[in-house]
Amino acid sequence: MRRHLLAALLVLPGSAGAQVARVTLETPLTPVTGAPNAILPATVSMPALPSAFTLNAPLSASALVTPVPVSAAAAVTPLATKTFKPAAFSAMAGIKRFVPTSAAPAIRPDATRTVIESLRLHGAESSQVAAFKGEAGSVAAERNFLSAAGLDEGGGTTGGEPLAQNDDGARRADLRDRLLKRVTLADNGKPEEREALIRVLEHMLVSPTAQSFAESFIADNLSAVIGFQDMPGSLLYDQDGIKRFSGTRGLTGWNREKGLAEVYLNRNYLQADASLFNEDLPAILAHELLGHGRWYGRMGPLNLAEGYATHEIHEQQARGLGWIVDYELDRKFADGGAWQYLQDPGNYLSTIRMQIPVYATMLSSAEMGDPLKAYQSRLALAAESVSRAERNLTNHRSWYSVIDYFIAKRGVKAERFATLRAEMAQMDEVYKQRIEVAQSVTATLQNAIKFLQSADGAQYEAYLKQVAAHPYMDLMIQESDQLGAALQQIVKDFPPIVAESAANASPDAPKSDPSAHISWAEFMKMYEQDRVDDRKRPRFLRHWTD
């Protein structure tokens, strides 16, 4: 099923998507991890939405990052071709050629700050954050220090309570109203959807950084439409008593005819557990509307939308913004990817590039100068990924025979391996999925290379070179870097509230029934001891070969 979906995604956009005049960013290629206990029918009745958001107060009173302002800039020369073959680029699925436009975005005079002015403002706001921390965040700071100092004892920090916030409801209401003059609510004629959209918008604006980026959105006179949408393949399911859903959470496209960004949120948010609506969705909206929608709005009229969607930083910028907003709201990350990024930012993109086909075709500014070379280089890495995933699966499965041996020859009860077998089965699926994904990455790159070697490809290369040289791209990268640095800083300054899932996921987390189930550490010892004992046996009685 998953393979068929994948194949359909790679093939369909070229034909079906050709009618769609927008750039889409999402790709529902990722396997759903964690088997749902039960798939609920799509007709589950909508629960009553909370009357007010109940999330914790945000961390700071001021934005961590000041959005990078833009000045009027020249449009990129449009492509001459009208029948672009987007099947080669799943990231650009369903794109028609852009309509030529020479219209630069209208920018209010007060929005044309220079970069250095922006940095100065950012610096000033950073000091406000520091002052706030000193006054209200001393407990958290102390915990942070004690956590560092107490590492030798292996003590874990569970973070502190969310810090107090200077809550200016009237100012936020004003900002909401001004933002709603630029953002149309696509409520499908359903009052409950309209109400939900306003609530999530209001909740997002509790974040100071979201406020700052919303002001930027307004100052640039950008427009967008937001609404809930049924996402193909998204299913509600119940896990541990919480109603969740699989599939894409949100997506953003650029509607070139209307000159606005279209932001769609998964309608299952309205039917899933209220905690997802409250804790997850505000950050998703920030990611989509203030991350993607804002830059689409700036770049779309300049014929840069497709280049934007091809640039590898466009997702990182939006993600960084969403993570910061999420953290400001409750000192937790709903998205584990934030931790993946924070542990080693420079490794993040290269990691996901080989895990998700659409990312395999995204390019850095330098690579946009020679995309063919970049793709050919990645193709070699993708081929290696396939063989590596196959090797990993083979190695992984070698454990099964060892478990069987201990059950059959060493009298260990099979039930004691239940936990290990369950983990192994899960990992087995992961490896199989990785092989499929690596093969898809390979196919995607092969198609991309084929396209670039065509006549249209040559024009597209010329387009990408113009895009890479456009000043807006550098501004977006600059903003992304600022967001990444701010994300690191806020997590350092304000220790996170550890989610139960993280505690459970700790490598030293206690097993649910340690007396009955063998852990990996125990099993390793059993295996190693048995090998030692085996060497003492007569050669013809030995089980293991050295």
Binding site: T33, E153, T158, T248, D335, H396
Partner: protein, 201 residues
Amino acid sequence: MSRACRAFPTVLALFGAFSFLALSAPAAAKEAVKMPIPAQAVAALVKFSPPKGWSPRDYSNAAGADPVASFENGEDRIVARAFGAPGSDYKTPADFLAGPAALTMGMAPTVAGKVVVAGQTLTLYKRGFPINLGDPHVASPPKPMMGVEKFCVLPLAKGRFVAFSYARSSPIPDLEKTGEKAWESFLNSIKPAGGKKKKKT
């Protein structure tokens, strides 16, 4: 953050810097125009023998201030990350140990023992990290699968320090401990790149 990961063949050429052999001059001269090559920047602080047969890669964080040299083999990854330079994400070892790179999704790492590196006895830490998260547009699983990382921090002169780590991107250990053995050999091979050793504080 520097996002540039150089073309693979170039990286292969550059990683000669880690094998105590002279770096190929033409390749280095071509790349090192403005910024120091991350692998060379790490090698300027510490010398070590790269795991044999593992795939090398280098890049940097903090706009080039924090160079990284990594080696991968299957699910295993050994990394040397240098910090403490101006503009670094982590100014001190304590800063690093309290920071997100050392946490298990917000929880402090646990102590996994002691290890001698370059003549210094260091604390070996252990932490978990989420794996197999998939498409960022899709919700993370509520209980993500976790890999395991062991790491230690080697203080050097002038406020610099290097975090060495061995990560396995699977909750399931390697039956033959290939990565563990490579990690031990790697740690044993580490030496400061010239200069005097700093006393343990």
